[in-house]
Amino acid sequence: MRAPARLLRIAGVLICWLPQLVAAQAVAPSELMRLLASAESSRATFVETRHSVLLKAPLVLHGTLAYRRPDRLEKHVLQPHDERLVLEGDRLTIDNRTRARKLTTSVAGSPAIAAMAEGIRATRAGDLAALERHFEIKVDGRREAWSMSLRPTSEQVSGYVSAIVVTGAGSRITRFEVQETSGDRVVTEIREEIR
């Protein structure tokens, strides 16, 4: 009886540890995408900080982010000015209420901006194919603490942006960091609520 009991105990421990063992393994891009794609919609608040040698103090923006499957992303800057950006399908609308300026363009018309916006949207959507159109992807970390580095492939973007580093936990995104070739860094901290 003793030997089987011990075996059982070991098995029990193993069973308890199993999720952790699996999670401890490095997450594959495809798996990360599945995780991210599980979100139907999400709402978030963000704080975006630009660190630049040109500036006396970092430039800070506050606002909200909203995503809805399959392809609608809204970024609403509330502070220090009011600007609403909506990327839906191929259309990008920039509505600056502070300056009362509204502009709608097709993503095709401004490919560099499209790539940057797609970096956020396709990440949130878990759309690997869309990301691969613009970036070289590298994923590090575990399921509940992953980071993904996106290096732009188009020279149109790579001249300005060296990488976007996205960090997250499970299906949530916690941070974007845009590293520019000018040396500036733009860090966006996100508190996300997934539905």
Partner: protein
């Protein structure tokens, strides 16, 4: 052999040799369309023709690369663009790849204070700088942040943003993997501009062949390359016409040789039939080359048709020879008629030779010299070359002594009635006879045209139909006018009357404008003070914009922008395409996109002292003028022929018997073509000239007083041989896939058939019951 006979043959051979030798050294065939322009051409028309033959639009090749994954296609597009740029055959290659424009970006960046329309003194005041800096801060926080940041320190007033549209149009195709793609992403797009002029079909063909090879190397195995554009069309057209004319002329030659062999039963005679026309062509081309310096390609093409009549001369001679009769004796009987046949053609062409249109004058000269030489060869050389007994074996046509005359007698009045009805019909339709839209004669297939439309639409290429012109005496004045034109067109865009436009001054502003922009730049000390004041309460560091101060200082003391500093770049290309110099002075050309209500825009342009040019309408008007001129000389020639016939036949009645059936046939021919749903063009007019030329010959031979049944039989044989050969040659042309050739074929075939029937019924003495 008699010495006289030898001397004639020797003289003839010597003449041929002299012509050949002279042509071998001096012949230059050109494709210069301006030769075919009326002297009354307006400056707009001259510009049109120059643009058609050598303008940028005429040199564009539109390319679509399909059949592959997007990544493969993008790779192929980049590789193809690289190979094309290296080849030296193309002055400009664009596949949307923004990295290809580094030189252009440098030029724009270095000259932004001269080029930007926003530069004026107010732009550098403290208040303006403060507003600009404020805006920059917001832009930095926008999705464009990384891109704004790049030029922010050197260009806080955003002049480069003003100029971005110059190298990357806002409404261009979308990019994938860094190159242009169609909207459905199925094909990569590319535009190439050949160095060679659009009218140089050989060079265009070389460029196209190179492109196909380069593509095969860039994307081996799979992939499909679709090409379009004027040069592509021209070379396709030439290929089609070449292939067809080979096939059809081979068929026609076989038929003609067959007919002549059956009729004359002698290979010597068949061979001799070719001599006058060959001599005529050689002498005619020599005469044009000597008289005009060069021979135009179109002259050669049409001239060969017009001289075609000369093929008939030897047939008349051989067929009319009585058994055993030396050809000299034959000539003494029917030489007068043969001379009339030659002279009527000469008269018809001589009116043309005096035309002030050089193209028509060349045609006239070629016909006169060629037909004269062919006539002389027939009357002088052939009798001395051909053995007297050679004509003996010829076919003796069946004698139909009673049936045919009676039959012809019956059809005489119906023929007259038919001709009268045809005349009424043609006159009633006179508004709708002509079609001056050359596009309808174009041998380009409908699928090729729709591919062209699709690619143009995808690439946002200009319609190439509407232009606005601003003229001036010199380059600077033209650039200044271009600047005010840009203002005017800008208002038209704002008013929604056009979607967009291009002007040369956007790429190269006038010196006056550049100078005023340069002098609007403040001194560095002043600018530094204004900037410092503007930055006082901002989040930017005081030293953040040091590169801006340097840039302005450099621009203030720097040189103005000129064509040399733009050369070899897209910007330089645009300037040379849009700023044209010709004998009318300098013209700034502004191609328009998306024109609404062109008539209204034209009227407004005229009020603002600009010229609105509708290329399609203008080219149609040109063709129209040309056709009217030809028609005038056609009528003059006919009048000359009528007077000449009345004088030389010494009888108005006889002249009428010769001329009227031919005219009736020509009118009926036109009526028939109209009933078949055809509209006529310049080409049909030339074909009608030939119809009248050969028709008059039939009439002259039928009308000629003839002694006895045997002579009448020989007359019938001669006209039958001539008519059947003409019918078979132009019947072959009717099989052509090329609308122009088919149209000429139809006109001559029906015209010739009607002529021979009408002449038999109305000119022949049989028909008047005098048999």
């Amino acid at each position: 052999m008699k010495p006289a006979r030898l001397a004639v043959i020797a003289l003839w051979l010597l003449g041929l040799a002299a012509c050949s030798a002279w042509l071998a050294r001096n012949l230059s065939v050109d494709a210069e369309l301006t030769v075919f322009l009326p002297p009354s051409t307006t400056p707009a028309q001259r510009l049109l023709v120059e643009q058609l033959r050598d303008g940028v639009a005429s040199r564009l090749i539109l390319v679509a690369i399909g059949d592959g994954s997007a990544l493969e296609l993008a790779g192929a597009s980049k590789e193809l663009a690289r190979r094309l740029r290296q080849s030296g055959l193309f002055s400009f290659v664009n596949n949307g790849d923004p990295t290809a424009f580094s030189r252009e970006r440098e030029i724009l960046s270095a000259n932004r204070y001269l080029l930007s329309p926003a530069v004026d003194a107010k732009r550098f005041s403290t208040a303006a700088l403060q507003a600009a800096i404020e805006e920059n801060l917001e832009l930095l926080a926008s999705p464009a942040g990384p891109f704004v940041r790049h030029t922010l320190a050197a260009d806080p007033t955003g002049e480069l943003r003003q100029l971005a549209g110059l190298i990357a149009p806002q409404d261009g195709p979308s990019l994938q993997h860094g190159v242009w793609f169609t909207r459905d992403a199925s094909r990569a797009l590319l535009v190439a501009e050949t160095r060679a002029a659009g009218f140089d079909v050989d060079a265009q063909k070389r460029a196209i062949a190179f492109m196909r090879e380069a593509f095969a190397a860039a994307l081996p195995g799979t992939g499909r390359l679709e090409l379009s554009g004027p040069g592509v069309f021209a070379s396709q057209m030439r290929d089609t016409i070449h292939a067809e004319s080979w096939r059809l002329s081979l068929l026609a030659s076989v038929l003609v040789i067959l007919i002549l062999t059956i009729a004359f039963r002698s290979f010597a005679l068949v061979a001799a039939c070719a001599l006058p026309v060959v001599t005529g062509l050689l002498v005619g081309v020599t005469a044009v080359a000597m008289g005009f310096g060069t021979v135009h390609g179109i002259t050669l093409a049409f001239g060969a048709t017009l001289i075609g009549e000369a093929v008939d001369y030897p047939s008349y001679l051989f067929a009319n020879a009585a058994p055993g009769e030396p050809l000299d004796a034959t000539l003494s009987r029917m030489g007068h008629t043969l001379r009339l046949a030659v002279l009527t053609t000469l008269l018809g062409a001589s009116a043309m030779a005096f035309s002030s249109f050089e193209g028509l004058a060349q045609l006239g000269m070629l016909t006169i010299a060629g037909v004269l030489a062919a006539g002389l060869t027939t009357t002088w050389v052939l009798p001395r070359l051909v053995a007297p007994r050679a004509t003996e074996r010829k076919l003796v046509a069946m004698n139909v002594p009673s049936l045919l005359p009676r039959l012809l007698k019956f059809v005489r009045w119906p023929a007259v009635a038919l001709a009268a009805a045809a005349l009424v019909f043609v006159v009633s339709r006179q508004e709708r006879i002509w079609d001056d839209d050359l596009a309808n004669l174009s041998p380009i297939s409908e699928s090729a045209k729709s591919l062209d439309r699709r690619l143009r639409n995808e690439l946002g290429a200009p319609d190439v139909r509407y232009l606005v012109l601003a003229r001036a005496n010199d380059r600077e004045a033209a650039l200044e006018r271009s600047e005010s034109l840009a203002g005017w067109l800008g208002r038209a865009v704002a008013g929604g009357r056009i979607a967009g436009f291009e002007v040369p001054s956007a790429y190269l502003p006038s010196r006056r404008t550049q100078e005023s922009r340069r002098s609007a730049l403040p001194e560095v000390k002043t600018l530094a003070e204004s900037l410092s004041a503007a930055l006082k309460d901002s989040n930017f560091r005081q030293d953040a914009f040091a590169p801006f101060l340097e840039s302005v200082a450099r621009a203030r003391s720097g040189p103005l922008l000129d064509t040399e500093s733009l050369s070899g770049s897209l910007l330089g290309l645009k300037v040379s395409a849009l700023l044209v110099e010709n004998r009318d002075g300098w013209t700034a050309v502004a191609p328009l996109r998306g024109v609404q209500m062109p008539e209204r825009l034209a009227a407004e342009a005229a009020r603002a002292d600009y010229e609105f040019l509708d290329l399609k309408e203008e080219s149609n008007r040109l063709v129209n003028a040309y056709r009217n001129e030809s028609l005038k000389f056609f009528a003059l020639g006919l009048l000359g022929i009528a007077v000449f016939l009345a004088l030389s036949l010494r009888s108005l009645a006889r002249a009428a018997r010769v001329l009227l059936p031919v005219l009736a046939a020509a009118v009926l021919d036109v009526a028939l073509l109209l009933l078949m749903g055809r509209t006529l063009s310049l080409f049909n007019l030339v074909a009608l000239l030939l119809v009248v030329g050969v028709g008059l010959n039939y009439a002259l031979f039928f009308e000629r007083p003839q002694e006895g049944v045997a002579e009448r039989v020989r007359t019938r044989l001669s006209v039958t041989v001539c008519a059947t050969t003409t019918l078979s040659v132009f019947g072959c042309l009717m099989l052509s896939q090329t609308p122009v050739l088919r149209s000429i074929g139809e006109t001559v075939f029906f015209g010739c058939l009607l002529s021979v029937l009408f002449c038999a019924a109305l000119s022949s003495p049989y028909a008047r019951g005098r048999a």
